[in-house]
C-alpha cells in the first residue's frame, strides 16, 4: 500500500467544535468530569476549565450528586479518556432492558 509510507495521524473527530462548550468526559477507572473545553491535542489530552469531578461510590453506582468536587483548570490525559460528549447531550432514562420475569 503506497499510503502506508505517508500515513498521517488524522483525527476521525474534530473537537474544535466543542471549544468553549461544556462537555462531559468519562475515564477509565470510573471517574467522570465535566467542564469547558479550552484545548486539546491529537492524542486526546484535554484542557478543561471550571472542572467538576464526579466519583462513583461502590454503594451508589450511578449517584453522581454526592462526591462532586471543583477542580478548576485541569489537564485530562488522553490515554485515560473513554468518552466525550456535550454536557447536555445525555439524560438518565429508566432501564429499557428490564424484562418481565414469568413465575
Amino acid at each position: 500500500m503506497a499510503d502506508k509510507e505517508k500515513k498521517k495521524k488524522e483525527s476521525i473527530f474534530d473537537l474544535s467544535k466543542y471549544i468553549d462548550k461544556h462537555i462531559r468526559v468519562k475515564f477509565q477507572g470510573g471517574r467522570e468530569a465535566s467542564g469547558v473545553l479550552k484545548g486539546f491535542d491529537p492524542l486526546l489530552n484535554l484542557v478543561l476549565d471550571g472542572t467538576t469531578e464526579y466519583m462513583r461510590d461502590p454503594d451508589d453506582q450511578y449517584k453522581l450528586t454526592e462526591d462532586t468536587r471543583q477542580l478548576g483548570l485541569v489537564v485530562c490525559r488522553g490515554t485515560s479518556v473513554v468518552l466525550i460528549c456535550p454536557q447536555d447531550g445525555m439524560e438518565a432514562i429508566p432501564n429499557p432492558f428490564i424484562q418481565q420475569q414469568d413465575g
Binding site: 498521517k8 477507572g29 491529537p42 468536587r69 489537564v75 490525559r77
Partner: protein, 93 residues
C-alpha cells in the same frame, strides 16, 4: 513527539501539554485512575507524561483520606495518570 497533519488544531487554543509545561516549578496535583492522588512540585515530564516530582504527598481517597508523605524526588509512572491540576493542593482532608 507525534506531529499530526490535522490543520484544524488552531494555535489560539491552549494545548494540554503546554499547560503542564508551564506548571514546571510549581505545585501540581495528579489524580490517578484509581483512588490515589499525588501532590508535589513538578520538576519535569516526558512524552509519555511520566513525571518527576519533589516534596511529594500521596493521598488515598477511599479510606478516609489517609495520607503518606514522601520527600525528595519521585518518578511517577504516567500509565495511570487521569488528571493533572496545576497549582492544586490535593483533596481536602
Amino acid at each position: 513527539m507525534i506531529m499530526a497533519a490535522v490543520a484544524s488544531t488552531n494555535p489560539s487554543q491552549l494545548l494540554p501539554l503546554e499547560l503542564v509545561d508551564k506548571c514546571i516549578g510549581s505545585r501540581i496535583h495528579i489524580v490517578m485512575k484509581n483512588d490515589k492522588e499525588i501532590v508535589g512540585t513538578l520538576l519535569g515530564f516526558d512524552d509519555f507524561v511520566n513525571m518527576v516530582l519533589e516534596d511529594v504527598t500521596e493521598f488515598e481517597i477511599t479510606p478516609e483520606g489517609r495520607r503518606i508523605t514522601k520527600l525528595d524526588q519521585i518518578l511517577l509512572n504516567g500509565n495511570n495518570i487521569t488528571m493533572l491540576i496545576p497549582g492544586g493542593e490535593g483533596p481536602e482532608v
